[in-house]
């Protein structure tokens, strides 16, 4: 069954400065939606507003049903913030248990983590930490996953592995992805939105990028 997530009329301001003024965005299960925009345009704020961790004027609908704080139902949505969020004192196995993620599959797929289930998150390198965070969120059972800067801190090999995982997992869920490395976003995205001056617009051809000077390789051909 296909599920939809729509964020509509999102308005957000910090200290009187309008960050988001007129946003419409639609995600569907089975698709990866990419969100492009220059630094400071409010991409992270938009994700947090959709997730419900930041108070904003908005209408966020899951299958046409409005939710004020979507995160309170973990079957609906998960959010990867752009910073590390797993408490450092937790052990890998505990994280996988909490998130109902498959540790043995993870060990088999990524042998460099084999036998490290009792290791604390704080002992992992920055890239490994990010890799674990991404894996548990991407493979989680929620309908939608919002990924904010998922490829930051990852090595090129890890980035490719995660892109493949996102594409494989989109059968089960919908993704909203933003990253300052637009190349990776556009490679995995089925739909693209551009956030500029607090407003979103669909990107279907290079002209839609306007004068934002974002380089999007998918339009090269």
């Amino acid at each position: 069954m296909k599920h939809t997530l729509e964020a509509d009329s999102v308005r957000l301001q910090y200290n009187g400065r309008k960050v988001l003024s007129d946003v419409y965005l639609k995600c569907e299960t089975g698709k990866v939606t990419g969100l492009l925009g220059r630094n400071g345009q409010g991409k992270s704020s938009l994700m947090k507003a959709i997730f419900g961790s930041v108070d904003a004027e908005k209408s966020v609908r899951f299958d046409n049903r409005v939710r004020r704080k979507p995160y309170e139902d973990p079957r609906l949505i998960r959010y990867l913030p752009q910073f590390n969020f797993i408490p450092k004192f937790l052990r890998l196995r505990k994280v996988f248990l909490d998130y109902d993620a498959d540790w043995s599959l993870f060990e088999r797929t990524f042998p460099n983590f084999s036998g490290r289930g009792n290791e604390r998150i704080g002992n992992l390198s920055g890239g490994e930490n990010r890799f674990v965070e991404l894996f548990v969120l991407i493979t989680s059972t929620a309908q939608f996953a919002l990924l904010d800067e998922p490829f930051t801190h990852l090595s090129p090999l890890q980035t490719e592995a995660m892109k493949a995982l996102i594409i494989a997992e989109k059968v089960n869920k919908g993704f909203l992805v933003t990253d300052h490395m637009f190349q990776h976003v556009t490679e995995v995205a089925d739909d693209l939105y551009l956030l500029v001056d607090g407003k979103t617009r669909r990107v279907t051809n290079p002209e839609d990028l306007g004068n934002t000077r974002l380089y999007v390789k998918r339009f090269e051909q």
């Binding site: 997730f51 961790s53 704080k69 995160y71 309170e72 139902d73 973990p74 998960r78 959010y79 913030p81 910073f83 590390n84 969020f85 797993i86 408490p87 004192f89 937790l90 505990k94 909490d98 998130y99 969120l137 989680s140």
Partner: protein, 103 residues
């Protein structure tokens, strides 16, 4: 039921982020209560409340990023703090009762 256990486990995980500092305060309070008895109860009560306020301020600031671990599992800040404070205050009361029994 699984969800309830998971939530209780998450509250305990969250509580771990400030349990050491809180345990020191509780132990000191229990020691003073054992030494001076009910005469100092009101003072100890407010000391505990004040220390929890200070802990809230620092944890809320320094562990801000970790809230997303719990949000992703359906736990709001409000639920986390309410349950953790209730648990901590329960342990404080138990410590004072134990101290009074040992007098």
């Amino acid at each position: 039921m699984k969800s309830l256990f998971l939530r209780a486990g998450l509250v305990l995980t969250f509580y771990r982020s400030f349990v050491a500092a809180s345990a020191v305060i509780t132990t000191c309070c229990a020691g003073l209560f054992w030494r001076y008895g009910f005469g100092v109860f009101v003072g100890l009560f407010w000391l505990k409340v004040l220390s929890l306020g200070v802990l809230f301020y620092f944890v809320n600031d320094f562990k801000r990023a970790e809230y997303y671990y719990y949000h992703n599992l359906g736990m709001s800040k409000h639920i986390l703090w309410t349950c953790a404070f209730a648990l901590d205050f329960g342990l404080f009361v138990v410590a004072l009762i134990a101290a009074s029994n040992f007098r």
